[in-house]
Subunit: 236 residues, 2 copies
């Protein structure tokens, strides 16, 4: 088995996008997975994570949600791009739906239901995709919960939320609000709150702050990966 | 492999207790697990669950926390016994510590660290045992979180809390209070909140209410069992 990376350039609402296909061409037909990066946009970390997901038996599209040539290199540039993307949640939704459609153009992607996993801003993306009513089997969110300023469509995706309890972007009120939203939507959901864990708990290169509110948490990184793998197995 | 049940009668604070040993005598030395029942006390449901845990490679003691001859048969009698047990949390703690010590008298129990799993009132018991500073590798709680009216000892147990989001005994404030308590204790903890799930989600014989606040939830029953199995594997 040899997993390959191929750049995929396409048009979608808002312009031209440069996503990355990550898959094993010899594996035959497999279900697809969308991977949404954090606020910096696509980068080596995402491609590496995608390879590990592909090794589980999936065709992965690492989604460029910003647009070709638009990538964050630090907190400031990333935050600017994030503001631009999230300022119009309806347009953002339309972009997400277009990326979802693009996944089916990868060679060997099984038609029908896929999974979507997102980290930080990508977590908001996968929730919004589920909220759009997209036909997705399972969604795995790693942080960022706020709902758009418009009603959800009928949701079909099962949801797994991997939550750092100390994440300042996801305080207890936001977590409870998400739980209420998903309960009212009647959708199958689970949320794992991890202690001594903050934002960006999967980011190996970011040391954990003293108050455990931000940075890599190896126990949670390992446990949430396993929870995702188990959830994928249950979703398909 | 043949798992056997043996009644175990012993003295502990408050009187005489009749617990149930559940184990495979042919299996040699194995780690121990304490199983604490719900507010009705020990019954066939617990012995059956204990057999499934024993089959994973453990010697199990199903703990009679009320005392010999004291069992609930309905909501009223069970609630009366619960009130009696929980009225004095310091005495309750001393009883729990005695049951923990009793586990090591089972044939073939490995000295050292054990696990403890509890359901509903039993969930409070395993938390209180962890709060007492008992040398326990892993504690799995299924509901009921309120802290005793005295300070915790230094806690060593890892904790997994399996939480029905709609459980009226564990509203969001109680859940957040537990998370704060465990965070301040510096202990390794995780809490899985399950949507559309209430109190008693593992009780096969209790139909789920229309508002999903009470009764059996098959998805959550299956997922929380798997989470417990994975957690045991990580704890030892």
């Amino acid at each position: 088995m040899a997993i390959e990376r191929h750049v995929r350039i396409y048009e979608a609402p808002g312009g031209t996008y440069e996503s990355m296909e990550v898959y094993d061409p010899a594996a035959g037909e497999q279900p697809g997975v969308l991977l949404f990066p954090n606020f910096l946009g696509t980068k080596e970390w995402d491609f590496d994570k995608a390879e590990r997901i592909a090794a589980l038996g999936f065709k992965v599209l690492v989604v460029d949600f910003y647009g070709q040539g638009k990538r964050g290199t630090d907190m400031e540039s990333g935050s600017g791009l994030l503001q631009e993307l999230t300022a119009d949640r309806a347009l953002m939704r339309d972009k997400l739906i277009a990326h979802h459609a693009e996944l089916f153009k990868l060679p060997g992607v099984r038609p029908g239901r896929v999974a979507a996993v997102g980290f930080c801003l990508g977590g908001k993306c996968v929730l919004d995709l589920a909220r759009s009513g997209a036909d997705i089997a399972g969604v795995v969110n790693h942080g960022v919960y706020d709902a758009p300023p418009f009603a959800n469509a009928a949701m079909v995706a099962k949801l797994l939320v991997c939550h750092g309890w100390n994440d300042p972007l996801c305080p207890p009120e936001a977590t409870a609000a998400l739980a209420t939203e998903l309960t009212e939507a009647g959708v199958d959901w689970q949320l794992i709150a991890y202690g001594h864990t903050g934002h960006a708990f999967t980011a190996e290169s970011v040391p954990l702050t003293a108050d455990a509110s931000f940075g890599f948490q190896p126990d949670t990184n390992r446990r949430s990966w396993q929870a995702m793998v188990d959830f994928f197995a249950e979703s398909f």
